[in-house]
């Protein structure tokens, strides 16, 4: 086990103490949002709901959880009564009822949907049952760590959902075990992921894979290469959707610690463009959906460029995610920070350290 988890655990404990003082309501979900997304050729309304559960099992474990994730601080940290979980979910139902358009329902917990400590089986059944009864729901997306994916659970879920498609999302981050273990402290191996992917595909569910750009301790170029390789690996493992998570600095994470020391910079948006360009050239976009919806883009804590072109580049990323049309990525307007980005890629290939970005404040 790498030494890194000691540090992660230390930071985790310190922050958990801080947040456990403030108690918040369990009656409302953590987060809810809707936006447009393409699904099987038609533009649908995607509704995302993040339920407040006990919290991710891995983050609460003695290994401290992932180096980049601070969602645990939004969790209840104690078992949430079944009726309250259902009450949280009812917000999403109300949202669906307000529209006539086809809907993609994304039920997240910032943990694992299939973890029975977070969502007890009766709640899981009830939620899926409700979803299955709403006509305009085309697809239900849930996220989970791969170790909770079992054949029994999936058979049961697909049975409840009937003709509605279930998509299971797994945060793979990288297909490289070294990177996933050392840089993310993610705690599961490529093998575990593969067996989960196999079960998902065997049960005629879709597989969504999250890939992280850019992992700590990697240079921007290495991160770009890793994202492209991971995409290729994930697709060969059967992924139907690839979603790129451009990193944002969460509070109380190792990533924040590194960022504050000047040893981490969130990715350039140019890097995301480059990844999408390369990936759309090698991936059949008819079969595989490629998504990239950056959070906090343009902020110092989120993926950013120079400040003057961030909005524009983000709009390109969104346009591509919605249209799945690679032409969107061509003929992008020039910004002078492209040269800076290239110069940093060059510099990092000597240094293998992200501290080169200290020069970003030049002039």
């Amino acid at each position: 086990m790498p030494e890194i988890y000691n540090k992660v655990l230390k930071i985790r404990k310190k922050y958990l103490q801080k947040v456990s003082v403030k108690s918040s309501t369990l009656k409302r979900p953590i987060y809810m949002k809707s936006y447009d997304e393409k699904f099987d050729g038609e533009i649908c309304k995607a509704i995302v709901i993040t339920l407040k559960t006990r919290g991710c099992a891995w983050a609460l474990s003695e290994f401290g959880g992932c180096t980049v994730c601070g969602y645990i601080y939004d969790a209840a940290l104690k078992p949430v009564p079944e009726d309250l979980l259902l009450r949280q979910f009812s917000y999403a139902v109300r949202e669906i009822e307000r529209t006539n358009r086809p809907v993609i329902l994304k039920i997240f917990t910032s943990g694992s949907f299939f973890d029975e400590e977070e969502i007890p089986p009766p709640v899981r059944h009830k939620i899926l049952e409700i979803a299955s009864k709403i006509d305009n729901v085309r697809e239900v997306v849930v996220e989970t760590r791969p170790e909770f994916v079992t054949s029994d659970v999936l058979t049961e879920c697909t049975k409840i959902l009937g003709d509605k498609i279930l998509e299971v999302a797994i945060g793979l981050e990288s297909s490289n075990d070294d990177i996933r273990m050392t840089c993310f402290n993610k705690g599961f191996s490529w093998k575990t992921f593969l067996s989960a992917a196999k079960i998902i595909k065997e049960n005629y569910c879709r597989l969504k894979v999250y890939i992280f750009l850019k992992p700590p301790f990697l240079t921007e170029m290495e991160a770009i290469k890793d994202a492209i390789r991971s995409t290729r690996d994930a697709i060969s493992a059967g992924a139907d959707t690839i979603s790129y998570n451009l990193s944002t600095i969460h509070r109380g994470t190792l990533l924040e610690y590194l960022w504050k020391r000047g040893e981490y910079r969130p990715p350039w948006l140019w890097s995301a463009i480059l990844v999408l360009q390369k990936v759309s050239a090698i991936v059949d976009l008819e079969k595989t959906k490629i998504l990239c919806d950056p959070v906090a883009a343009g902020k110092t804590r989120g993926p950013h460029n120079c400040g003057s072109c961030d909005r524009y580049v983000v709009s390109i990323l969104r346009k591509f995610s919605l249209s799945q049309n690679p032409e969107v990525l061509e003929n992008i307007k020039f910004c002078r920070c492209i040269n800076a980005w290239k110069a940093f890629l060059h510099a990092e290939s000597y240094s293998f350290s992200q501290t080169v970005n200290a020069y970003e404040t030049l002039t």
Partner: protein, 662 residues
């Protein structure tokens, strides 16, 4: 064979040759991202740069990008470190076994790669700068000693570019940790202001990252720093790139992409120019003068230099030649701690003992002309002293007070750097130089011990120095220059003469004393050069001194020619008989495996070398416990043992009738 062939040293800065015949210090440019070649897509720019290409090392990182095989073109491969080595947390483990294993595995993988490649490429490993700020040095050293790599890239240097303490600490530690035959590449810190200083701290390779970053932000590099293009008023540069433009506004009005191209080419040429200047300075042994010019451009480099001089003097001294043919120019306050100067002060303090049987010490001011006794003022002093002393002249010890050497005893006045330094003389002494002189003087009187007659024929600041020194020790001195007088005024000189006469009254003359003093004077130089134990055997009562024209003095001890004192350097060159003394005392000896075939003895034939050896020292070459030759060291003793390549000793004299053991 891997690594760097060390040609010559000037302080820790060195001229080396890499496997592919590139001379260091050199610049490295990374082709992998194709940025470099993209920058020079303009044909005229490429032509211009080709002129400078000789000192560019092209590099790439392993593994190469799948789509192209640019690796073929590069002559350095930087092997990316495993992710665990990049986390700062690997250093937190107390025992360091995790670090050692990971490092070993990393180096093994690099070595495998190297043996699998048929092409002649240099391989670089990458070590985070943080590694050199911990007590894990020993582990790193052990692993690297076994390794078959050419270059060690220190990563993350850019984060300490503005932190003088860390900058110095990391680089000095890195040079101490990384074996001498591995070249050091300091990554992404190739600022024009820093480059010569980095080279002086032992860095061999810099890279082209910074000039490109600066260009991307419209920053224009010049010899002493950098300037945002928008603030520039006059286009002062005349490099082949800039000379195509008539004014700054023309440059400012270029479209951004073209401007980036032009600026990065200019910046690169500027950095190359600075590196070339530095290389030239090392070869001409004037790196110090270059540094003194250069470091003052920024507070951080000035502070780094001071920090280096005050805290790591022993590191600098180790690599500084004991003698060069250059004048030692001391123009700024940094020069008070110039390694040659500090070495002189330290040796006078530690190796040198005042002559015995001295009845009177005369303190004199220094002169612009060197050696002092050739100057007009000193000729006047000596005439007065000789007149006053008569046949008792050998009872007098003359000591010259000077900055920044402290004190120079008369018998060492020809010895490097006493006759070779040059300072801006204004008559004003700052507190620091006064302290230096006072402590040297105090040390001198402490060594004499007890009461002794002291005449101080000095004025102004010199007088203050003498007063302070004697008051610290409770001694008394007679000042022979009155406040209104100059040291060369007839009345002062007359007073000097009569005081000397008076002070020496009552001291009896013994036969043989004069000869004894002569022997001592010559021995003092040997003491300074080799230490007291060697000196006492080299020069004794039987010694005869024969002056040979104005070249120097031949020394015969017990009838045998042992050494030759060169007037030009004021140091001895030994004969084979003299070398026997070194072997007897086990000092300044280099033990070799085999008979040298050329006059350059390479480091791989050296089995052991004495620790006190410095570049340009006289060393005895020992094979099977016998002296086989004498030569001039080209490295320090430790480096001779460590390095597997490079000239260790330049052989000057070999014993006749020595046959190869083959």
């Amino acid at each position: 064979m891997t690594g760097i062939f060390i040609k010559q040293h000037c302080g820790p800065a060195k001229i080396g040759v890499l496997e592919n015949d590139t001379e260091t210090p050199a610049l490295m440019i990374n082709l992998e991202n194709n940025l470099a070649s993209r920058v020079y897509k303009n044909e005229t720019l490429r032509k211009t740069l080709r002129k400078f290409q000789k000192h560019l090392l092209s590099s790439s990182t392993w593994p190469p990008p799948e789509e192209k095989s640019e690796l073929i073109n590069s002559n350095v491969i930087i092997f990316p470190p495993p992710f665990r080595l990049r986390t700062p947390f690997i250093l937190e483990e107390k025992s360091g076994t995790g670090l050692k294993e990971e490092l070993k595995r990393y180096i093994e993988r690099i070595c495998e790669l190297k043996s699998s490649l048929n092409k002649k490429v240099l391989i670089a490993c990458c070590l985070p700068a943080d590694f050199f700020r911990t007590s894990k040095n020993q582990i790193i050293r052990e692993v690297l000693k076994e390794a078959n790599i050419d270059i060690a890239t220190i990563s993350g240097m850019e984060s300490v570019a503005n932190n003088q303490r860390r900058l110095v600490e990391i680089l000095v530690n890195a040079r101490k940790t990384i074996p001498a035959d591995i070249a050091i590449h300091a990554s992404v810190i190739s600022l024009p202001t820093h480059a010569p200083l980095l080279v002086y701290m032992g860095v061999d390779i810099l890279d082209c990252a910074y000039p490109l970053i600066a260009a991307a932000y419209d920053v224009y590099l010049h010899e002493r720093g950098e300037l945002p293009l928008q603030n520039m008023t006059v286009l002062s540069c005349t490099c082949p790139i800039c000379s195509k433009y008539d004014s700054v506004s023309e440059l400012k009005n270029l479209p951004p992409d073209a401007r980036f191209e032009i600026l990065s080419a200019h910046n690169l040429i500027m950095l190359l120019k600075i590196i070339n200047e530095t290389r030239d300075a090392i070869k001409r042994k004037t790196i110090w003068e270059l540094l003194e010019n250069h470091v003052y451009s920024l507070p951080v480099t000035t502070a780094a230099m001071r920090h280096l001089l005050l805290s790591h003097q022993e590191f600098l001294e180790k690599y500084t030649p004991v003698v060069t043919s250059r004048r030692v120019i001391c123009t700024s306050a940094l020069s008070y701690y110039r390694p040659e100067v500090v070495r002189f002060r330290e040796r006078v303090k530690e190796r040198y003992m005042p002559p015995s049987n001295v009845a009177l010490v005369i303190l004199l001011p220094c002169s612009a002309r060197k050696p002092y006794s050739k100057s007009r003022t000193h000729k006047m002093f000596r005439e007065a002293i000789k007149c006053g002393a008569g046949p008792k002249f050998h009872l007098i010890h003359e000591v010259i007070i000077t900055s920044p050497l402290g004190i120079v005893p008369r018998e060492l006045e020809m010895t490097f750097p006493a006759a070779h330094y040059d300072v801006p003389v204004t008559g004003h002494w700052d507190r620091e130089e006064m302290e230096i002189a006072i402590s040297a003087l105090v040390n001198y009187f402490q060594k004499i011990g007890g009461k002794i007659g002291i005449i101080a024929h000095v004025e102004n600041a010199y007088k203050e120095i003498v007063e302070e020194a004697i008051s610290q020790l409770g001694l008394e001195a007679i000042f022979t220059v009155k406040n209104s007088e100059s040291v060369t005024s007839p009345s002062a000189l007359k007073r000097l003469e009569t005081t000397v006469r008076e002070m020496l009254e009552g001291h009896e003359l013994k036969g043989g004393d004069a000869k004894d003093r002569l022997v001592q004077d010559y021995r003092k130089i040997a003491e300074y050069q080799f230490g007291a134990d060697v000196a006492i055997d080299l020069i004794n009562e039987t010694s005869v001194f024969r002056e040979e024209g104005n070249r120097g003095v031949r020394v015969l001890t017990e009838g045998k020619f042992v050494a030759f004192l060169e007037y030009a350097t004021g140091l001895y060159k030994l004969s084979l008989h003299g070398a026997e003394v070194l072997l007897l005392k086990n000092k300044y000896c280099v033990f070799v495996k085999d008979i040298p075939r050329t006059e350059d003895i390479t480091a791989d034939t050296v089995i052991r070398a004495c620790n006190e050896i410095r570049p340009h020292d006289e060393v005895a070459i020992i094979l099977d416990k016998t002296v086989i030759g004498i030569g001039q060291a080209n490295m320090c003793g430790q480096e001779m043992e460590e390095a597997s390549k490079g000239v260790a000793v330049k052989l000057r004299l070999m014993k006749p009738n020595i046959k190869s053991r083959q």
